[in-house]
Amino acid sequence: MFLAIRELFYAKTRFLLIGFIIVLIASLIFIISGLAKGLSANNASALQELPADYIVMEKGADTELAKSLVPKQALESIQDIKGIQDVAPLTVRMANTTTTSGKAVDLALFITDEKSMLLPKAIQGKSLASKKDILVDQTIQDDGVKLGEKLTFADQTFHVAGFTEDQRYSHTPVAYMTDNQADKVNAFAIKTSMDQQQVQDKLKNYSVFTKKEALKGIPSYSEEQASLNMMIVFLLIIAAFVLAVFFYVMTLQKRGQFGILKALGAKTGYLIKNLLGQVATISVVCIAIGAGLTYVIGNVLPDGMPFVISASSLLQSSLLILVMALLGSLVSMFQVAKIDPLEAIEGGEK
């Protein structure tokens, strides 16, 4: 690192310029992954947070909850299967209604049983006491809905008993209710310590999905995530290439110097260590600045913007950027390895 650090300080301007680009790319990666996380939660937190291990749907259903239909009376026979700890029916309906203040709102109704394990805790108000009570995600307050308000949909009037958190589905707040009169439900959610294949073997007449698989059934979920993830992948590749080109040109420029150092007895390994040290130093500093910048930006984003950033996802993206940066310096490493110390002597002659 003797050479690496001294060069960083000597050639400040060029390293500041490349650093600036890396800061911007890192921030963009963090922000987009924050948006991806935020949108994913906005679209599917109700499923992600569902206190169940597997979702059992109609045989042949393609993970889309609304398209699956299973007979409700099968509940008891599933409950009796050894190894299944708990099971609850789940029906998902989209509904829309008008609030007292006259605003139209969309709701995702999650209909289950009174004693269902799926019922979330109320963070405000009370839990469900009657079939006419609903527990709604707190984000509905943005539309002016208050505790105790009466909402009418599907020709019935319900009473907002409490608010929950992290319960959104298909970009709308979820309303949990227990008014379950139909003979058929969309799915059963089960809790078990068995793995997916074992459950599938016991429930041959159904399709068993993990929660992750069920996410794909939410309209637009995969498409949203795929397009954002594609942007992240592209940015990572761009980061690698920007650094690759920068260090490649720098290395080309320094051929003579590397030749001299090799002639003086520097091992290739030592020179490569310095190169990697430089790349790693620049990347780590720039990623840290980018993370700080993202944090600031995250705080000034408007409330309605789905943006979720966690330390673990920041760390994960940071490591990815670092790995890409080091991959990008591979080209330069080969370049350094190829330089012949003879170039120092032959100077002009050859």
Binding site: F2, R6, A11, Q257, A263, G265, K267, A344, I345, G347
Partner: protein, 228 residues
């Protein structure tokens, strides 16, 4: 310890043609002896210097440094050999642009994995010896050509090598400064009892050598002891 070349030949193949850059050269240089190598461009001087400096393996022949044949060593062993036994002085000084003058010498200790206060003091003492005490914290581009070449000499001496090889050390200097540099070089070779070899075009400094050899078409054509 001396440097001995025995029947050294270096052949380059250019398509079907063979070209002998160095043709059967034998040479022995003793410690404290400063040898000048002259010859027209393309005569094989630099190739000979590269072989002597363990930068290039000869096609045949022996290069005996400390009695060991460098021609048979691996690339890794050659790098270690250069670091320990050989000091280079290149054409345009070839200092590392982003290192302060003191670090031009300290980097040699870093490469040799032999750092410490004593080494830093040694570097400073060497630079002071060459009249560069006031330049320790300058960068190479702040020095004159002569000063830079003196730094290069100090750098070549940093690891106390047995052999000092200079590749046209006066090429980028005017005649007065060039002569100063070669005088310094010659003096150091004698005082420190090194094997000194200098390739040069500059005939005005040859009187500072103990012996001058001339190479033409890869062959050693003339050896001449300088009378003083």
């Amino acid at each position: 310890m001396s440097l001995v070349l025995e029947h050294v030949t270096k052949v380059y193949t250019d398509g079907p043609k063979e070209f002998k850059a160095v043709d059967d050269i034998s040479l022995q240089v003793h410690p404290g002896e400063f040898v000048g190598v002259i010859g027209p461009s393309g005569s094989g001087k630099s190739t000979l210097l590269s072989i002597t400096g363990a930068l290039l393996a000869p096609t045949s022949g022996k290069v005996l440094i400390d009695g060991k044949d460098a021609a048979k060593l691996s690339e890794k062993a050659l790098t270690a050999l250069r670091l320990a036994k050989i000091g280079f002085i290149f054409q345009a000084a070839h200092l590392v642009p982003y290192l302060k003058i003191r670090d031009q010498l300290n980097v040699i200790s870093v490469i040799a994995q032999h750092t410490g206060k004593a080494q830093e003091k040694h570097a400073e003492a060497l630079l002071s010896h060459f009249g560069l005490a006031h330049r320790l914290d300058n960068y190479p581009n702040e020095l004159s050509g002569g000063e830079r070449q003196r730094v290069a000499i100090a750098r070549a001496l940093m690891n106390d090598p047995k052999i000092i090889l200079a590749d046209e050390p006066t090429a980028s200097l005017d005649s007065k400064r060039g002569r100063d540099v070669v005088e310094t070089l010659s003096k150091e070779v004698k005082e420190r009892n090194k094997v000194g070899i200098m390739v040069t075009h500059d005939e005005r400094v040859l009187d500072l050598c103990d012996r001058v050899i001339m190479i033409k078409d890869g062959k050693l054509v003339q050896t001449e002891a300088i009378q003083k």
